[in-house]
Amino acid sequence: MSNVVLFTIITLSTIGAASAIILYFVAQKFKVYEDPRIDTVEQALPLANCGGCGYPGCRNFAEAVVKSESFDGLYCPVGGNETMKTLAALLGREAVEQEATVAVVRCSGSPQHRPRTNHYDGAKSCTIAHSLYIGESGCPHGCLGYGECVEACDFDAIHMNPETGLPEVTDDKCTACGACVKACPRNIIELRKKNPKDRKIFVSCINEEKGAIARKNCAVACIGCGKCVKVCPYDAITMENNLAYIDPVKCRLCRKCVVECPTHAILEIGFPPRKEKPVATEESEGSGSNIS
């Protein structure tokens, strides 16, 4: 009996010790050298693993940063300039600053503005619905409303508004990682320059159809009339394929175009309410100054 106990202990100890020794030597022999700076850099990153930098995760980004000589094409949109400065200090390099951006949803087609012409009963996925047909309304560019951008967000910064059926971005939480931009099959979401106090002016429509057709399908569509282009004092607005686009860098947030737009497709967000002007009262009331 005591023999059995003894044999068991000896056998197990031998196997354990033998595997430990083998593993030790194999680990020595097959040691992979890793730059210790990769760990330091990784710790300085937000560690959200969102992929906004173009690499699969924070560790891959850290590897790329340590390997390359400069910060060319390497930027962590989540950490922003502060993180890049920390990295520059860690590695003894010059930081390259980039302007902060925020995601903006360029569609205002709530059911109230954009009548639903049919009912879709298939898979509740934007990508699938987009590949199948035009969508529940007549607009081939408008938001499908199945919330694939919401699922893509790692930061809880984008949510569907149940009333409008459109996604809304919480600016404070948005890190401009670009996951929602990639997730949207219709390219409705755009990363635009972040202005002080989260103010923004943008054309909330990406419909490139002719004015009459766009207007018929959606009351707040850009009809390509060009009035905003004429009124803009900074040449920030361009008209292409029946669609106005406001250059976020050139725009000085003067809000002249917002009043001019006949369909209220240009939105202003985060501004204080306008003073009552006797001339343009009607338009300024309807311009939707407090949609946020």
Binding site: T11, L12, L23, F30, A123, S125
Partner: protein, 190 residues
């Protein structure tokens, strides 16, 4: 002929996952995508075959002569754990891309009861070394068949309108049950 019979019975008739219900954890855990399940199958095949050969030798040449067959389970676990570590270290150096692709699944194999199950079954059935190797390979194939089929079904499930409380794990478990029922049809062929 004998070896073909062993493989067919291991893959279809007594499938390690769907008939013997071993290795359910990775079967549910890493079956979200076909691609990852193929990677997992590759790693599991490698470990199962190697582990069965080594445990078979340890059992026949160490445990049986010493008369301590009762210590089978703990000995096998020890060997499998060391083996998985070894594979991980070597793979990291030799093929970093493969290591990246398998990443999380490699250490998971240590706790995969299919590996232990096959090793124990091989010695229980009084097979010789070649037979147990073939038996291990057949079981690994069966594991792969179940895992990849299930992953394919789950990819299709994502596209359906499943009632909300049933989404995710619940519907996956129901489908796993149906797959097991389907494999019962093979029973008694050999």
């Amino acid at each position: 002929m004998e070896y073909i019979l062993i493989i067919i019975s291991a893959v279809f008739i007594s499938n390690i996952v769907l008939a013997q219900f071993l290795g359910i954890c990775p079967f549910i855990g890493v079956s979200n995508k076909v691609e990852t399940s193929i990677g997992m199958t590759g790693a599991v095949t490698f470990v199962i075959v190697l582990a069965t050969v080594i445990t078979y030798m340890v059992y026949t040449f160490v445990l049986v002569p010493l008369g301590i067959e009762f210590a089978r389970t703990i000995t096998f676990i020890l060997i499998i754990a060391a083996l998985v570590q070894l594979v991980e270290i070597i793979l990291k150096k030799v093929s970093p891309s493969m290591y990246q692709a398998l990443g999380i699944f490699l250490p998971l194999i240590t706790t995969n009861c299919a590996v232990l199950g096959v090793a124990v079954l091989a010695v229980q059935k009084d097979m010789n070394l070649v037979q147990s190797t073939v038996f291990a390979f057949g079981n690994a194939l069966g594991f792969g068949l179940a895992l990849i089929t299930f992953a394919g079904i789950r990819e299709q499930l994502d596209l359906l309108n499943i009632p909300k409380p049933m989404r995710g794990a619940p519907i996956a478990l129901i489908v796993a049950g149906m797959l097991a029922l389907a494999f019962m049809g093979f029973a008694g062929i050999v």
